[in-house]
Symmetry: C2
Subunit: 440 residues, 2 copies
């Protein structure tokens, strides 16, 4: 059997501890599968004393993760600290610069510095693997980077934030408000005390930016993504969606258009009978549409110590199975030097269906006026639903729901602005984009 | 850039022609991604003159695929002829024995000779890749063989035959009989003139046997699988399933039990709100349940020239990205020599829920008698549905549908045998197993 693959792990939180336990407990079966043992030789973490369910007393301890990355003993540097900046950035850069393979679960780091790090890895002939960085245990990086080689991807989209999907699922199932479900998610540890990063879509955007680059060959651009979170989604939207045969999901969507690449994160209506609509709770899902393979959907756990550790382990095993310097997998799917600049398509040019929910004063001519504004903007309607909250009181505000056929976002925004100007709306119009699987 | 990877393709049917076209048309982007060009240097096919939409006039032509496999020019032998026997078997063996990498889409060959071929590949230090052999474009081999390294799999199951799924989907959607839908599938080219291999489950069994080995580390055993096809499924079953919240799918299921490994292919009721229940038409799906990652479901095209060619291309690209002799991926997930013998669990020991549909004479005491037989065999019931076909005629046969809680198959078989003996059944009792995703 070949020499052991020596790894250093920086970061022993939930994922790092799971990984260390698995590497120790399954040492023999891993050695058999990989053709050589995988050995933890060094670790770095903030708290030395914590019980992590694994004996690391004989492993070298580094207070400084950069020093760990620079240690000549290690073959693979596993970065599980998180964060776009130092020490993660400095440590990963130090390892790659020395030609040491890196495995990371750090989406923020890749979103910010992925192209630079890929360039170093390719120059030094080492691997930078990051399956766990997007959609946890779902092997979407492998699918895009390896399985789909030769395919031209047209669209990639998915549910990539478990917190948001948990909240939306719970709102629908239990008829609760966004605020109530967020509180419950926080109680269960699915949402942070400051939940903005998740619920406003930033987390999804980081992940999406990596998939976009793998799919379309552009440089990573995580800051230039259209973002809309879910805090604005009401139980009325969810019910109206269900009545019309849709379910609301927070999707990250990247697609190639005539004017550039659309990268957008927003609440989205998906057909209720589609596979992705069934993905509930904290589960993630990613769909890839390409010209040779067709449609591929993968559903699985998007977070959690074990699921993430499993993805990290798969990345380590890929390195263990190859001989040093033997692989030439371009980190971002294409050689980093050949990645194209990111050309952002404007959201105003987005073409698709729209759901529009408005609460209006119940007076004569309102509906005709709305219909007129739609027609003026060239928008044709697939469904129209109008109902009062209570049948007894004719003077109460009415809800009008429109579903458009595929149209340009700009037309919808103009029509809604014109309607808003009329003064008969109670509150703002709710506009939600519709996304359909290619086959639906 | 490194030297070109030289490939020889044996078999230029739908898949082989697609592959050749893609390799020629996307030569440059493939070379950029893989770090070296991929060049077709030789082919073998029965008809030389056919128009395949690609110019192969400058490529060496072999009438004998074994001679192609033995040609010293080629780095990779791509086997797309199909069939468990010669010439596929002889040709693949010849290539591997010379240390030449092989890519194949041939499930029958692997089901019959996979362990022997894996042994040769590992001895010679070459790769045997076969992503296209199971579930076409879905990267399930990669998921099991690479991504899930270190995981202990408990169950793998899926829809792996497009013909059967097309028929079952059409029966449900259009209320047509099995025979009518089969005829339509044949008209559309989804089913063979002799459809037995698909509809009796043999095709699914071949694919399942490969997944079983990757999941559980046993030697491949495709002949020792419990098989039940879909020709016995009636529109009444499908309607009754829907009424009870289920949909019928032909699943291949492999799971580890206390008494061995269950490998079974049969019509199965899955919860109608589960993701796999939404997989319609010729689409395939594979679910993997494992202890670290959790549940992973992949949905995609299971057949078709392009989807299959995409999987073959991914396999070739994996070889192109590695340097010769550089990979040590065990062909069947573990070194072939360490695969355990297959110990078959008896279907009579299967533990799960059952749907039982019986047509009975409408006489007093029948229902009580049925309930008695169930109780005697220790079977507890989740649902009971009893209805006459027409309300007007009380003397008509009645349909009784039972859904059991999880129980032993043996108990169900005994109960049904005892009920049958009573003489009040019109025709035979229909028994369909229920399969639930772990999370359902």
């Amino acid at each position: 059997m070949a020499d052991a693959l020596k790894i250093g792990i920086a970061g022993l939180g939930t994922v790092g501890s799971s990984l260390a336990r698995i590497l120790v407990e399954r040492r023999e079966s891993l050695a058999s599968t990989c053709g050589r043992p995988i050995e933890i030789v060094a670790v770095s973490a903030r708290e030395r004393k914590r019980d992590r369910g694994v004996d690391l007393s004989r492993v070298a301890w580094f207070d400084d993760p950069v020093a760990l990355a620079e240690n000549p003993q290690i073959d693979v540097f596993v970065e599980l600290m998180g964060g776009a900046g130092d020490p993660a950035y400095a440590a990963v850069k130090a390892a790659l610069s020395r030609g040491v393979h890196v495995v990371t679960a750090n989406k923020a780091l890749l979103a910010a510095h992925g192209v630079e790090l890929a360039t170093i890895a390719e120059e030094r002939g080492c691997l930078l693997n990051y399956e766990a960085a997007v959609a946890g245990g779902i092997p979407v990086i492998k699918a895009l980077r390896e399985s789909l080689t030769g395919n031209v991807v047209s669209r990639v989209y998915g549910i990539m934030n478990g917190t948001c999907n948990y909240i939306l699922t719970k709102m629908e199932k239990e008829g609760l408000s966004f605020a109530e479900c967020l509180k419950e998610a926080q109680r269960l540890g699915y949402a942070e005390a400051d939940p903005a990063f998740d619920i406003e879509g930033n987390d999804t955007a980081h992940k999406l930016s990596i998939l976009t680059t793998l799919a379309f060959g552009n440089r990573i651009s995580a800051d230039d993504i259209y973002l809309e979170g879910i805090s604005n989604i009401s139980i009325e939207d969810i019910r109206a969606a269900a009545d019309l045969g849709y379910r609301i999901k927070l999707l990250g969507v990247a697609q190639r258009t005539d004017t550039g690449i659309e990268q957008r994160v927003h609440p989205t209506m998906v057909p209720i009978e589609s596979e992705i609509a069934q993905v509930g709770g904290v589960t993630n899902a990613v769909a890839i549409e390409s010209d040779i393979l067709g449609e591929l959907l993968m559903v699985g756990p998007g977070a959690g110590g074990n699921a993430t550790a499993s993805a990290v382990l798969g990345d380590i095993a890929d390195i263990a199975k190859s001989r040093p310097g033997a692989q030439m997998v371009p980190v971002l799917g294409r050689p980093a030097a050949s990645l194209a600049p990111y050309k952002r398509a404007q959201i105003r040019k987005h073409h698709g269906g729209y759901f529009i929910r408005m609460t209006v004063e119940d007076r004569a001519g309102v509906f005709a006026n709305i219909a007129g504004h739609m027609a003026e903007n060239g928008i044709s309607l697939e469904s129209i639903v109008q109902h009062s909250r209570h049948h007894s009181d004719a003077a109460e505000p009415k809800t009008i729901i429109l579903v458009t056929h595929a149209t340009m976002e700009d037309s919808v925004r103009r029509a809604v602005a014109a309607i808003t100007k009329e003064g008969y709306l109670a509150g703002e119009a709710q506009v939600i984009r519709i996304e359909r699987p290619k086959s639906a």
